[in-house]
Assembly symmetry: C2
Homo-oligomer: 423 residues x 2
């Protein structure tokens, strides 16, 4: 049975009204109160492991029954290890520094106004995702720590697991000083609920879509609410002719093959034409040995006829698999041009010993992270030492790159005067 439009509107209003109420109450929550709530959640997940696994099994059965491929079914599975990792993740977030109430800047104007720019929760977040159930817990914990209220909408394939996690989190929050409505999971399966949520500008402050291109496209197209996108990563590694060949080889292989299915994995290897054939052969050989299928431009294929041809579409493809384009260029400027033209402004690396070329590349490549002599795979909140992240933003507003605790906050100005007026 599908809910009517009026029902959907009512469901959404009830979600957003409760979230806004919780968000306002959270403005006065202390760090200790928030951390205590996270510890309650961690404990409740531990205590509910059997319940969570039982509900998860219903999702797995439904997925198998509807013909979902076995590896995808496995991705959904809540193993004991996955449960333990969720619990550890929540406790790790409790240990991170709280950005809320931090004073970013403080100054006094000529007129004697004392101005403080104070970090604040954003308010009400909507997280829409289609990944594994651990995202439910991660997102809830990150939002609670930053004093936000969150409305979570997971994929239908994990609906039982997500609702079970929602129950567990709600039970935990009942025992704390926080409003349990700070974490709400949408329980209505209708897709229309998402459309209605995305219209609620003023009630929801930010939408964070996490998932495939189609999901993100839908959210960007329908949303009237600000969106922070965690979009595709068409990442590049450029290997300059002035470089340490062994280091270049290791970085290329690690960037592509260490975990090909993620957004900061390399999709195109850009090689300087002046690199000796021996070096090129060694780099490409290492890639092939790591199981990577190569697609090259004309010059690459002239020199290495075994390589399959790349076409215009190849340069714009996020393979997320052991496939890699090979592009040959004359110099660093051509590499920069290729990246700014075909890349997705996510993560791009240069391997060079030439400092001025490294500087030029860092300055001119218009991406969230530019890596000099290290793997693209290191562009990540934890690797950067920022702690957990809700994703890696490819937008150029608010958050660029890892979206961690600080990026889940905004600021307000508190201005103290002594009767100052506008002249």
């Amino acid at each position: 049975m599908t809910a009517s439009n009026a029902d959907i509107a009512k469901i959404v209003t009830s979600l957003t009204a409760a979230a806004r109420r919780a968000a306002l109450a959270m403005l006065s929550a202390t760090t200790a109160e928030k951390n205590a709530a996270l510890e309650e959640i961690a404990r409740e997940i531990e205590a509910s492991a059997d319940f969570l696994k039982a509900e998860n099994t219903k999702d797995l059965d439904a997925a198998r029954a509807s013909g979902v491929a076995a590896p995808l079914v496995e991705r959904l599975r809540l193993t004991d290890k996955a449960v333990a990792e969720m619990v550890k993740g929540v406790r790790d977030i409790a240990r991170l520094a709280d950005p809320v109430s931090r004073i970013d800047r403080e100054w006094t104007t000529e007129a004697g106004l004392r101005i403080r720019k104070v970090r604040q929760p954003i308010g009400v977040l909507l997280v829409i995702y289609e990944s594994r159930p651990n995202v439910t817990v991660d997102s809830a914990a990150l939002c609670l720590k930053t004093g936000n209220a969150v409305i979570l909408r997971g994929g239908s394939e994990a609906i039982r697991s997500n609702m079970a996690l929602a129950d567990v989190i709600a039970r935990a929050l009942q025992r704390t000083k926080l409003d349990p409505a700070a974490v709400q999971v949408v329980r209505t399966p209708d897709r229309a609920v998402v459309g209605e949520l995305l219209k609620r500008t003023g009630e929801i402050d930010v939408v964070v879509p996490r998932g495939g291109k189609e999901l993100i496209h839908r959210v960007v197209t329908e949303s009237h609410i600000p969106v922070v996108k965690h979009y595709e990563g068409i990442c590049h590694v450029y290997i300059d002719d002035e470089c340490d060949p062994a280091l270049a080889e290791r970085i290329a292989v690690n960037s592509k093959a260490q975990r090909p299915a993620v957004c900061n994995a390399m999709e195109t290897l850009i090689l300087n034409k002046s690199l000796p054939d021996k070096t090129l052969r060694s780099i490409l050989g290492a890639m092939t040995k790591a199981g990577v299928a190569l697609k090259g431009d004309d010059e690459a294929r002239r020199r290495f006829p075994d390589i399959e041809p790349a076409d215009e579409g190849s340069w714009r493809t996020e393979y997320l698999a052991l496939i890699c384009n090979v592009r040959m260029v004359d110099n660093v400027d051509d590499a920069i041009e290729h990246i700014n033209r075909y890349g997705s402004r996510h993560t791009d690396a240069i391997v060079t010993t030439n400092e001025s070329r490294a500087r030029r590349f860092s300055e001119k490549v218009d991406s969230a992270a530019v890596m000099v002599n290290c793997s693209t795979r290191l562009h990540d909140g934890a690797q950067f030492g920022m702690g957990a992240e809700i994703g890696i933003s490819t937008d150029k507003l608010h958050a660029r790159g890892p979206m961690g605790l600080e990026e889940l906050t905004i600021y307000k100005y508190v201005v103290e005067g002594a009767g100052q007026l506008r002249q």
Copy 2:
């Protein structure tokens, strides 16, 4: 003649392609080059004053011919004073510190990655406005200073003036090292151009709408591109029973009457019920004397029967005129609740000598700026000492409050390693 959809798409692609090219080139522009370009613009405006005024006269004639009211026609007029102010504005922006390339934070991770968070231009901005022609110059200068490329779309009522300013700016930029396409004014009057521009996610990074509610509503509804809204200001002043009555009176009058037609003017005065009648009479008398018409709740009208009644809609109205609601409350918490319920999260003030109430108000009022014992009218980039601003954001992403030079930038991460890989 209306352009066809295909024509519109072609026009828009030509604008965005040129803007993106200019934005990439601007990534290497130095502060000196940008300031020199601003000086060229200032000089060219000075030299072209007669041309600008002549073109402006055509807008004024057209406005009068189409029956636009005289005061609105006057707002459009480019007087000698208005031209001189534009020139001064551009030179002021040239003198401000350049946020681009500033290192916000720099650290080394355990793995030895040296990470710098470096301020960068956002890229391509689209500014849609319906105000006076000076916005064309202000926006162009702010965007140039921050290394952004901008596409400007002004209102039809100022189209001749805006095109003349575009010509002047283009002439000036021809003499500089910057790509003249860094500032483009949309010359096609069709409204469909805006719709098409708003779909160009990936080509335009941010849209800044400046204008009335209708314009902003349209942009928010249609845009697939991130929007920073400069929306309405339903601002409040709460006068606590513990306060200096003379100071309260001055702040109330200044907040409402100093310039009622702007977003940081007060729309509702909230009075503590325990204030003595004499104080209330004095405050409300001063408002009336300043020409303000009052609308009150039941309690206000019980004590001051002359006041017109306010209704539920009054609390949500941005009058932008010499009209003010009067609300009576029991205490600071009721004031906070009223503000968070009916306000627009723009600017809200408290007048009190009670420090703990001031702190409570600052913490719990969920607005871009909270003013303690000073006028709401001081919430402004220049008054804050931040220099010029493109507007005051009521959003809670990226920029909240004055959107000045820093808020027109974003950051990138530059990560230097020595062969680090992901384990």
